[in-house]
């Protein structure tokens, strides 16, 4: 009996071992194929996630174009961008590189949440230049009084110290509907000696609201949406650049760039300022595009380089203001514009072109702007 039991235990062991081997092989086989499937599926998921994050980064960079940063880049220089979509699905990093005056390349690499997979895509971006119908130093729509020592000059004049300005033709001094100009004192008609340009006065019956509020494919509302600065209505004194530690502080409400020192930290800053109401400025200086949804009153020798569009009227008094570029006063309420005191409205093709270029948002090329950037 003892020997019989010994033999039976031997068979049990053999059967058990074989059973374990078979079971182990079955389990191993399924585990191996399962792991392979899981790895491949995960790899595909991570790759798709990284691609989606990269596209998010690209859309965010181009869609939320920052003229104050990207448009200030010198040609061939870059600035880093990075971010991550909500939900922790990964992160992106990349660069915006300026290629020439109008073109940029955005190169974005997206990573999945575990930073194990990367996808690199890019976009060729072109500045959407704002197409303003500037045909005179001063364009108005209603009664315009000019007198005192004021001067309106359509002769193209480059701002002092500004480099790389190109020769351009002269414009009219004032462009307005017929019969709306009222010269006073030494500036009385018909000679209007305080107005210069080619011609000094251009009476244009076609002037209407589109002249002031339609800018190519863009309108007033679109331009307002592009603002870099929301300026509080009321009186502002001492507008000027704010440079701290060598950096231009863009958040400062009254920092409107530095037209007097183009090479300074704020020299390349051309903001779009929007005022939802009346604005009174006394002294200081700035550059860019000033949009006033009300009346604009200037005194104290304020100097501005760029384009001013006001829905209401323009009034200058005392030492007035110096506008280098172009001013468009729509005076929608048909109040009187009054250009009095020592005001100067001087046409400058260079100032107009530069602010329009530097304030412009970026957009992907109309075609073939999307690319893989690996």
């Amino acid at each position: 009996m003892t020997k019989y039991f010994k033999n039976e235990r031997g068979m049990v062991l053999l059967v058990a071992i074989i059973g374990l081997v078979v079971t182990g092989t079955v389990i191993t086989g399924f585990v191996v194929s399962g792991v392979m499937e899981r790895r491949d599926a995960n790899s595909t998921r991570r790759s798709a996630q990284a691609f989606a994050v990269a596209e998010h980064g690209l859309s965010e960079t181009v869609g939320n174009w920052e003229p104050g940063i990207y448009n200030m880049l010198a040609v061939d220089s870059s600035v880093a961008v990075n971010g991550s979509p909500a939900g922790g699905s990964g992160s992106y990093a990349g660069t915006v590189t300026r290629l020439n005056n109008e073109l940029f390349v955005v190169d974005i690499t997206g990573q999945d949440a575990g930073s194990r997979t990367q996808q690199s895509i890019g976009a060729l971006v072109r500045l959407r230049t704002i197409d303003m119908d500037v045909q005179a130093a001063l364009t108005t729509q209603g009664t315009t009084k000019i007198g005192g020592n004021a001067k309106v000059d359509g002769t193209n004049t480059d701002p002092t110290a500004w480099m790389n300005c190109h020769p351009d033709t002269n414009m009219s001094g004032i462009r307005l509907p017929p019969g709306e100009l009222h010269g006073q004192g030494s500036c009385a008609g018909p000679s209007y000696s305080c107005i210069a340009g080619s011609p000094p006065v251009s009476e244009d019956a076609t002037i209407d609201s589109t002249t002031f509020f339609q800018y190519g494919d863009m309108d007033w509302d679109a331009l307002v949406l592009m603002r870099n600065k929301l300026v509080t209505p009321g009186t502002h004194t001492g507008i000027g650049p704010d440079i701290q530690g060598g950096a231009c502080i863009l958040a400062t409400e009254d920092n409107w760039g530095d037209p007097l020192a183009p090479a300074s930290a704020c020299g390349g800053y051309f903001p779009i300022m929007y005022v939802e109401g009346n604005l009174s400025i006394s002294g200081g200086y700035g550059q860019g595009i000033l949009l006033v949804d009300g009346n604009l009153s200037v005194q104290g020798g304020f100097e501005f380089f760029g384009i001013v569009v006001t829905r209401g009227v323009l009034k200058t008094t005392g030492t007035g203001g110096h506008f280098n570029g172009a001013v468009m006063a729509a005076n929608v309420d048909l109040d009187d514009n009054s250009i009095l005191g020592d005001a100067l409205v001087q046409y400058s093709s260079c100032a107009v072109a530069r602010v329009l270029t530097n304030a412009a948002p970026g957009a992907m090329l109309r075609s073939r702007g999307w690319l893989y950037s690996y």
Binding site: S33, G34, E37, S47, E102, R368, Y372, Y374
Partner: protein
Amino acid sequence: MPTMNRNGFSLIELIMALGLGAAVATVVFQAIVNTQRATQAGTQQVDVRQNLRAGVGYLASVIRELNAAENDIVVATGTQLQFRSMRWTGILCTAPVAASMTVVTMPVRRDLIYGVRGPSAALDSVFVFVDGDPTTRADDAWLAGGVTAVAAGNCADGSPSADLSVEIPLLAGGSAAVVAGVTLGSPLRGFQLEELTLLSTGGRWWLAQRTASRAGAWTTPLPLVGPLAAGGMTLAYFDSTGAAAGTITDIASIAVLLRGESRNRVRQSVATTDFARDSLISRVALRNNPRF
């Protein structure tokens, strides 16, 4: 001696032991065979899915870069897609110089070339971005030409460049159009014709790829992904509204359906074996169609 006789096996015992052993061995063998078949089937299924993912991934990557509205797609059928495949994007780093009425030298910055490879004189045609009036996007355009030579050189700032000799047809304005309208920093996009199609070879179906040289000589189609099920690729074309595209230039997105099958047959029941099959579908929007 009597003791020895008692310790031996009788014939019946031997037959019973052999029978029992054979039965156990048969069961074990069957289990191992079934296990192997199941593992093989699982592996084949995984391979099929890997193939499908790779195929759809490749199709998606080339489709994204297309601009159907400006003739990047040459042939579009349910089983064939012939198109201009983007190979690289470069940036002009020195002003273009006319070498003849139709040929212009265009140096591109070597450290800013994106894509799967660099420029090739034998293979590439090229699009050159023409800005025209910098104040408007409306006149922006791409001039098409051919890369006739690639030489090493230097950009205006001294960095290494690939100096492309690009032939622009006179009908498109020749070299004068480039010299007048292409500014420093303009992008160039190199491309060559590529075709993705269903190919039947060796009794199996494949997603096959062939490419053309700039002169128009096509390579032999080579299997890229597969094996696929018979007729295992279906392409459907949609316009920007989501309706079926009426013409090639209306295509705004492409739906891709791949049906793959395993390399080897796997047992599916006691009596039958067949290929493991699976399918994958994806819809890809063309990113480079004109926009405003």
